[in-house]
């Protein structure tokens, strides 16, 4: 039981990290960025390339090296997200919503098959694994690696929440989500804030990508597809556009999957996740913490 909860929270914290970028972008420009999962994939490959360039890493150094790679990768995917917005989305800001959505799907394919052209179709084995010692807590076996990854995810999420709720920049993001025109009259450079929002969201996805690579050990060019959909599901469960809601949605989805898999079997995991998505979309489209979102729309 505690094992199931722990597994759920562990996977859920990945979902939450990726879902946050989804949710922030939706909040600020009302775009479902279907290419967001591919930035996670890009992060995994960027981390892979950096680790390859650094050379062999002894297992005692695995953790500090991983954290350093994480920071560089976040910068890389962050800038990729900014470029994506600048090239693909900004010219369509005033176009019908559907055009933007289709462009996002196109951007997703472009990233996936661009990566296949660059790195090949075969899965790559990550040059760094976080294995190592495990400990027992209240009947659940958790590894040190898992603890570190969850720790990093939690720190990033708390940081993001503080940024959005307490700072001038976060206030500007929330203002633009409500009314971009009036925000510009406050002296806010709306395009610049949107760029920075893409940077932050994409950096978080990139961090999750590296962490997934180091934890699961294998990456491929389509790895972002499913996680993108899961992140979307997590965002919908929590209330898309709502930051604490999205974090909660990620954890809830992780737990649902963990328990669903236990009761029904592993092959039902994705069925279970997307069944929940459909359920939420029909019964409670604003999500668990979504009341504020209905006011925003």
């Amino acid at each position: 039981m505690t094992q199931l909860i722990w597994n759920g929270l562990f996977v859920g914290s990945f979902y939450a990290l990726v879902a946050l970028g989804y949710s922030m972008v939706y909040g600020i420009i009302k775009l479902l960025n279907f290419a967001h999962g591919d930035l996670y994939m890009l992060g995994a490959f960027a981390g892979f390339a950096i680790l390859g360039a650094v050379g062999g890493v002894s297992s005692s150094m695995a953790l500090p090296v991983l954290l350093a790679v994480l920071v560089v990768t976040m910068a890389v995917t962050g800038l990729a997200g900014v470029a994506l917005e600048r090239i693909a989305y900004r010219p369509l800001r005033r176009a019908p919503r559907l055009s933007l959505l289709i462009t996002a799907v196109g951007a997703s394919f472009a990233l996936e098959y661009g990566m296949r052209a660059a790195a090949g179709a075969d899965p790559r084995v990550y040059p760094l694994r976080l294995g190592g010692s495990s400990l027992e807590v209240a009947g659940a076996r958790l590894t040190l690696a898992q603890l570190v990854l969850v720790g990093v995810a939690v720190v990033l999420m708390i940081g993001l929440n503080l940024l959005v709720t307490r700072t001038r920049e976060g206030r500007a993001m929330r203002a633009i989500a409500l009314d971009p025109t009036t925000s510009s009259l406050m002296g806010i450079d709306v395009n610049a804030v949107i760029s920075r929002t893409f940077f932050i969201g994409s950096a978080l996805a990139g961090a999750a990508g590296v962490m997934a690579g180091a934890y699961y050990g294998k990456i491929d060019f389509l790895m972002g597809f499913l996680i993108g959909l899961k992140a979307f599901t997590a965002a919908v469960i929590g209330g898309i556009g709502n930051i604490p809601g999205t974090m909660l949605g990620g954890l809830v989805l992780g737990l649902l999957e963990s328990f669903g898999t236990f009761w029904l079997g592993g092959e039902w995991r994705d069925v279970f996740a997307f069944g929940v998505l459909i359920l939420f979309l029909t019964v409670r489209p604003t999500g668990l913490l979504g009341e504020r979102v209905t006011e925003r729309v």
Binding site: R168, A172, A175, T181, T182, L185, M186, I188
Partner: protein, 235 residues
């Protein structure tokens, strides 16, 4: 201080402003009057950069701001308070005011300006933790103006601040505008309520179909039979 000359604005096939010219001097309140669709809101939007004019120029304090981006125009001290107040509804009153201070790096200065607004508008101070959307119409108008004051404006572009407000509230909004002006901020005031606007303005312009049809000192406009008939509801 603000010089608009020969301004043309097209919306698709509609010619909304036709060579409109007007000026606002330092320390003045200038009323811009006219019927619905005359081009009053478009004039303000073209001045603040929300709408790109197809011809003419807007010069503020020696800077050509024609077609400039809105946040740059605000940074110069020309601040537009849009029609319908546009308060950030799910942000608190205090956060709304803080957004006015977005361009001010010095947080102590922002606090000072916000305190000044609270002093001027004690109702906002009482409601500082409330969401902007929960305020009454008059309070929202006060908040929209207060928020603009935090930007440190040298000139305000006010679009229909009296819209939808009860007469007593209109009077207090006009009093607030006169007070802000007395402290040195120039005002271009767009109004349907010509009586209220001409009550505090120094000069006024009347526009129809995007063209200027009348202008002069406020006292003269108040007595002009054409204004009385068309905008002051008298016969």
């Amino acid at each position: 201080m603000l010089e608009i000359s020969g301004l043309d604005v097209h919306y698709g096939g509609v010619h909304a402003l036709r060579g409109l010219s007007l000026t606002v001097g330092p320390g003045e309140i200038v009323a811009l009057l006219g019927n619905n669709g005359a081009g009053k809101t478009t004039t303000l939007a073209a001045a603040s950069g929300l709408v790109r004019p197809s011809g003419g120029t807007v010069v503020f304090d020696g800077h050509d701001v024609t077609g400039g981006r809105p946040h740059r125009v605000t940074a110069l001290g020309l601040v537009h308070v849009p029609e319908g107040r546009r308060v950030f509804s799910t942000l608190t009153v205090h956060e709304n005011l803080q957004l006015g201070g977005y361009l001010v790096r010095d947080q102590a200065e922002v606090r000072k300006r916000i305190d000044r607004v609270y002093e001027l508008l004690p109702r906002l101070a009482e409601r500082r933790a409330q969401q902007g959307g929960t305020l009454s119409g008059g309070e929202q108008q006060m908040l929209a103006i207060g928020r603009a004051l935090v930007t440190g404006p040298r000139m305000l572009l006010l679009d229909e601040p009296s819209m939808g407000l009860a007469p007593l509230v209109v009077a207090s909004v006009m009093e607030l505008i006169a007070q802000i002006n007395a402290e040195g901020t120039a005002v271009l005031l767009v109004e349907q309520n010509a009586t209220a606007a001409l009550g505090i303005a120094h000069r006024g312009y009347v526009i129809e179909n995007g063209e200027r049809v009348l202008d002069g000192p406020a006292a003269e406009l108040r007595d002009d039979p054409r204004v009385v008939e068309a905008y002051l509801g008298g016969v």
